[in-house]
Amino acid sequence: MMILSGDPPRSRVLTLVLILIILALAATPFLFPGAKALNVAAKICVFAALVASYDLLLGYTGSVSFAHTMFYGIGSYAIAIALYGMGPNWAAVATGIVTGLPLAALLALAIGLFSLRVAAIFFAMITLAVASAFQVLASQLSWLTGGEDGRSFQLPELLRPGTILISKNLFGFEINGRILTYYLVFAVSALMILALLRVVNSPFGRVLQAIRENRFRAEALGFRTVFHLTYANCIAALVAASAGILNALWLRYAGPDTSLSFSIMLDILLMVVIGGMGTIYGAIIGATIFILAQNYLQALMGAASTAAGEAGLPLLPGLLHPDRWLLWLGLLFIASVYFFPTGVVGRLRNPAGDKSGGRSH
């Protein structure tokens, strides 16, 4: 219980599902052969941490930020630019980390102090504006960021797929640099999620929840709410930037589509809401469901679309086209905000009553 900061899943089914997910993720390199399965598993790890950090904002403080991908992008780009510019060595990785993380934290501090100073209701709009400006900036500074093409880079020797650490004849499995990278991603993501659990269950986390429920009352109790909200913003930005670093390391690439686009922001929102706001565990569930669906359901949609096209049905082929995947997600999103405001975790914890969680105002 120490490791979970005294905040266990509090539901037998949920515990079982979580254990299953974590075991599956830990054993992916051995259970599911092939590059695709490993890619999906790595993406689930990265997004679980990213979504958990967003949950700190959305679920625990009740503020909607649209700038979360910006921090994610800062992490990705910092490591990509460093490795691209300095060559594949560990000094470059360190440079990327020590420039990316403070940059993200400083920007979060600036946005927090500025937008929390003005009417709190502006926060969502201001973050949206800043994030879109950042996106334009990243695509225009092409000498630095590679513009629309992004930056591809080489990893240090140890993390490359060609590096064989333990050869096949020892255990029957080959452990190469790629698998080592996967475990790096897995371990760091897990650590960040545990750290976030620690944060939300600390006295500081309690104050955040108090602010969510009633900011005025929290202030009346003597808490400096602006300080708490800004601090939460900075923590979330740091974790998001770290997730961005992991993602770039895994993909060996950073570009607008994989790390900055608005659709990633929507994905994060969907994952938080589906998993359950204000639970942290919801991030793991949401990321797993969403990414599995994204990778395997799209193929199904494509098949359905061609089938509908061959059957000569009007409109359906267009609506079922794999590129229209977001349409169905949007509908799912609206339905889950409306019918399951507490998400999967909320449902599992409290199957009968549906007390709305994560309510602001």
Partner: protein
Amino acid sequence: MTELAATDPLPKPKRDLAPILLPVALALLMIPLIGSPSSWLTLTAASLAMGMMIFIMASGLTLVFGLMDVLNFGHGAFIAVGAYIATLVLAPFAASVQADSLWMNLAVLGPAALLSMAVSGALGLVVERVLILPVYGQHLKQILMTTGGLIVAEQTLYALWGPQIIPMPLPTSLRGSFIIGDVAIAKYRVLAMLIGLAVFIAIQLVLNRTKLGLLIRAGVENREMVEALGYRIRRLFLGVFMTGSALAGLGGVMWALYREQVHASMSDELTVLIFIVVIIGGLGSIGGCFIGAILVAMVANYGGFLVPKLALVSNILLMVAILMWRPRGLYAVTSR
């Protein structure tokens, strides 16, 4: 305080002129920076035209917030829908659009704009009933619901019209510019300015000279009191929401003609601009929204001319500067 006799009219509230002077000052400041007076005039006309279009799109959003405390992140969807609907009329009547007669062009454009407004307004009705009604008073859920609505609307447009960019050529008689001396002002911009001014004046007249407007203004200031006096503010709100959506549709048609193309992603780009305008103006204030729209357009046009790379960033800087001066926007009309 001076003594008032019973027959005297009530003292007028003090007029707050500083925000009005802001765009004027900005424009005058730019004369020496830009150098040539003719390009300054062209740029200023362009800013005014662009500002009017943004104002048309943003006015509904600011009233919706002011009146009912509803944050609609899906406002951009109405803009895109309006533009797409207009292509339904403009494409079949391409011959009349190409004809070199102002009346013939307007005879197609008018119905196209009206149809767009009708469809966007009707869509507004659906959105208000389905997405916003269940989550009144909960900002977090409003943002989530309307964001979801925006995704669905955008993807439906892609599914129906295909993901490609649809060209939307300007009618022949609106092409080209009026040339006065060495100043060139595009004809379409003049039309946009006229429509924008007409909408602004119409909104101001309704708000300040009719009972309906009185109720809306009262509702913005204190919703509960209006309800306590027996008015159904929800119905009033529905009307405002539909009007705002229809205006967004009109703005969408005008913007599509201005850019001469239609694409669902235009809603994303414009949503950001509109938010900046609404924040700058002060949520719920039509006058502030008008000034904010012109300021944003001026920054975009002058900035685009002087430092092209900073176009979007400069809007953020403008917002930061204004909020430092007045943390609740130019005119703070709501008590929230």
